[in-house]
Amino acid sequence: MLLVAENLVLSRGGRTVIGGLSLRLGNGEALLLTGANGTGKTTLLLALAGLLSPASGEIRIENEGDDREPGELCHYVGHLDGIKPHLTVAENLAFWAAYLECDTSEGDGERLSAALNKFELAALADIPAGYLSAGQKRRLALSRLAAAHRPLWLLDEPTVSLDTASVALLVDAVKAHCANGGITIAATHLPLAFENAKEIRLGLQESAA
């Protein structure tokens, strides 16, 4: 699988945020997006997830025998966690797994408990998600990554409100994902220790651009 973006121009509110960015990522590659506030990290991730249409340029996935859009192949974990406070931790995760996973044939229950264990949420499984702390909510949002299999992970500042141990859990999950041939793109301000990760440093666009 190859994720390709060519001459991508993205604008928010009439202002060009990213002007002419190209990237190619193959199986097992990780990419870190860094840069100051307002340089378009989130905008780029939104566009890659298919949530924002580019002003010009193209995003596509080259994958033999599969013509799905990038949006259908990606996990998008944004600033907001997408958690319903009235559902329990396990119910939140079960919903996203069932919704995002196109083939629900495989052992669902095991995969869910494995995902909860991976981000150390198993003890909280039956608690309504509204009672979780900010870091626990973030871990629940990240556990979506493990609960439903998707080859492209788009993480927008995934370490916000995570403690050091949880960041290590995330790094392990990303390493395992890339070792299995997945692609990870993460916007971050922390130096995340992904293996042989590329880095794109985004800068502010000149207003004339």
């Binding site: 298919g50 949006g71 259908e72 966690d81 319903k84 009235h86 069932a98 919704y99 196109c102």
Partner: protein
């Protein structure tokens, strides 16, 4: 298709857990209808003549109360972005959420209507038709309402705006819903208004999600 029903089931579960939206809608419906005889006086003939119209209009207003939340809560907590990366196109996401609104709000309101009919001295022969027109007509209420909910997604306190956008679109449903009940009480043919009401609901079920998805696309940019 399983993703569609997964989403409907989650919305219904949330509606049951939260409870407030349905309770507010039912309570509002009860109070509006109960206050009317107090305002108009105990003229039983007058009340039974205006009962179908009052029950329908109060139902539309009650349904409006919860329409604002159809997409708003998912938009605020980031769920809508994740839903959009799922296997369903936005049209089906909008349809699933409108369907969940219909089941969790509109159907209970329609089932409460005959109880409130007693307060208004509605004639006994009209009760089956009252419930029938409301069950047939309310899909249009939820699916057209979804358009308004999608359009006002980013407008804080968009509740009144939804009413302005959506109530005019409810006019055909209201007219033919009342016409069917009146026909039951008078000499007219019942089939014609009932069939038109059905057609409006079917049309809204198809067109509502398409329009709502188009509105969501511009709002999410």
């Amino acid at each position: 298709m399983s993703a569609f029903f997964t989403l409907v089931a989650r919305d219904l579960k949330l509606a049951v857990r939260q409870g407030g939206a349905l309770g507010t809608a039912l309570g509002f419906y009860l109070i509006v209808v109960a206050m009317l005889p107090l305002g108009l006086g105990a003229d039983l003939n007058l009340l039974s003549r205006i009962a179908p119209g009052v029950l329908w209009i109060a139902l539309l207003l009650s349904a409006l109360l919860s329409l604002g939340r159809v997409f708003e809560s998912d938009f605020e907590d980031g769920s809508l972005d994740v839903l959009a990366t799922g296997p369903l196109p936005l049209e089906l996401i909008a349809a699933a959420k409108a369907l969940a609104h219909w089941i969790s709000t509109s159907v209970p309101l329609a089932l409460l209507a005959p109880v409130l009919g007693i307060l208004l001295n509605l004639k006994l022969v009209a009760y089956p038709m009252l419930v029938a027109t409301m069950l047939i007509g309310t899909p249009a209420v939820s699916f057209i309402g979804a358009i308004g909910a999608a359009l006002t997604l980013r407008a804080r306190r968009g509740g009144l705006l939804i009413a302005l956008l959506v109530l005019p679109l409810y006019v055909p449903t209201l007219v033919f819903g009342i016409a069917a009940i009146s026909a039951m009480l008078g000499p007219d043919d019942v089939a014609a208004p009932l069939l038109i009401l059905t057609a409006i609901s079917l049309g809204a079920t198809v067109l509502g999600p398409v329009a709502a998805a188009a509105a969501l696309r511009t709002q999410m940019q």
